[in-house]
């Protein structure tokens, strides 16, 4: 299968947009909520956790997993839209 360069450019543009959104969340949760804002957030609590501490040692890791899951699902849709989808048994 050959793909022309306009497909290639459009696919790449969509990919970059998804990536930008997800990396912004990644940076905000880890460096923002887990580190820079940890003390103000610690005034609130989540169950028995100070909130900032929870984000630093638990929440950020859950968010990382969800971000990659969203990326994989979203990219599957983008691949399909541009007809460059790969099957499970390449």
């Amino acid at each position: 299968m050959q793909t022309d360069s306009s497909t290639s450019r459009a696919h790449w543009r969509d990919n970059l947009r998804v990536m930008g959104i997800l990396l912004a969340v990644w940076a905000f949760v880890s460096f923002g909520l887990g580190i820079v804002l940890v003390e103000p957030l610690n005034r609130f609590s989540l169950g028995g956790f100070p909130l900032g501490f929870w984000f630093a040692q638990q929440g950020s890791i859950y968010v990382f997993v969800v971000l990659i899951l969203v990326y994989a699902v979203w990219m599957d849709r983008i691949d399909r839209r541009h007809d460059v989808h790969e099957s499970d048994d390449a």
Binding site: N42, A56, Q58, F64, I68
Partner: protein
Amino acid sequence: MSIQAWTYLIVGLTFGLYIGIAVWSRVGTTSGFYVAGRGVPPLANGMATGADWMSAASFISMAGLVSFMGYTGTIYLMGWTGGYVLLALLLAPYLRKYGRYTVPEFVGDRYYSQTARLVAVFCAIFVSFTYVAGQMRGVGVVFSRFLEVDVNVGVIIGVAIVFFYAVMGGMRGITYTQVAQYCVLIVAYVVPAAAISFKLTGNPVPQLGFGADLIEGPRAGVALLEALDGIHRDLGLPEYTAAWVPGKKSMIDVLAITMALMAGTAGLPHVLIRFYTVPNARAARWSVMWALVFIALLYTTAPAVAAFARVNLIQTLHEKPYTEAPPWVKTWEETGLLEFTDRNGDGLIQLGTESENELRVDRDIMVLANPEIANLPAWVVALIAAGALAAALSTAAGLLLVISASVSHDFFKSIVWRDMSPADELRMARIAAGFAVVIAGILGIYPPGFVAQVVAFAFGLAAASFFPVLLLGIFSKRTTKEGAIAGMLTGIGFTASYIVYFKWIAAENSADYWLFGISPEGIGTIGMLLNFAVMLTVSRFTEPPPQVVQELVEMVRLPGVREDG
């Protein structure tokens, strides 16, 4: 049955399993040896990556480190998991699409330069050897503590096992043993954690028990972390959950170290190469997702274990008479990992600030002695030994494959003996793997003093060298070979000099003297930024890459279109 009998049984069974898998998965082609024939399903590769990534240090030392650092332990928890987001979004799918066999090979092709490839080979081998020596040492230490054999005998047994399945099965053998090793290590980690969580809080899920109320002891009914903060206040120590207090790291340093660990994780060759083994770019994306799920299982349990162990240790021992201390105190004192000095001569154990503390506790105890501290049955203690061995052996095997492929494929095949036949290359790869295992064993028996120091900095060096070169190689068509070489040398040169200066030359290694208050552990972040800056600047003023390289970048970016054959 005694702890030792149980340990022999469980370790023996797991080793038998690894050998069985090795026999079943032996390979006869270079593709099988380097990338497991690219047929590994994403889920299995996720498990293998988890075991590949989580080393003896993650398994044995991390919870203990976090336990002593409190909030600041976040640098490891977030740094070593957040890197997977970078890996999934920025590197893994594209490197898989590129195809071929190794990371230096990508660097060489993308930067149309054998020099760049050689620099990458050198970095890959250096990082992998320092890392692998630590794993072999870990194998030896576990053997000596749990089976009472000499450390060196332990190392030799470890070498023999890895030699068998790495040389015979290559990447395919390593992959499927890693899947088994992941299962062993995660069960070994989670079972004791759940038991301790249940004992302290009545909730068997450590991630929830971490935030629940204590159900026993003088602070019953108080939330675990609140109780821990209170205990620390009473002892005159900074609160466990407090972030920016004297005696802990500063915000800028925490930011820099976390970033360096994240970028370093994404740039480590033995992790990257795992994503060459799946069928396509899409499988690579899903595979990183599974890898992080499996890693997160341990990494979200670790901080809970850290807090439980801290509460347990202080409540069990503080102000208690030494003569009435539980038996595990004596056992671990014999290994030298625990030390009691009765400074005020009252016969009681006092914990507290540096000047008053009477019990020196090695961080490794927090995981290794946890089952004993919590009074769990002997088979759980034995499970910990098998888990620690699985963590160390799986990481060692992954690193050895990187060394073997770098030597046979990136050095001999591409530079020394270009028309080597596939059969000869396979033989060469096996010989290189065999030599690498033996050298790793020797480094494990005679660990050079710098190993422990260097392993901690391997991430900073990977962040400052590999990460920017790979990232810009995919995201910019304009970066040139001159830019890449200048960038790598600047990044690694700056980072290495800063570390060497503060660790071995400067009289003072403290925040007052550091650049922007960033410690040597975090300086890789600055090295990485310098690498980016130099690479982009030099590329602007040098000849653009040839057409074929620009087409390579186009090809790598788009899934589905197969041109690598």
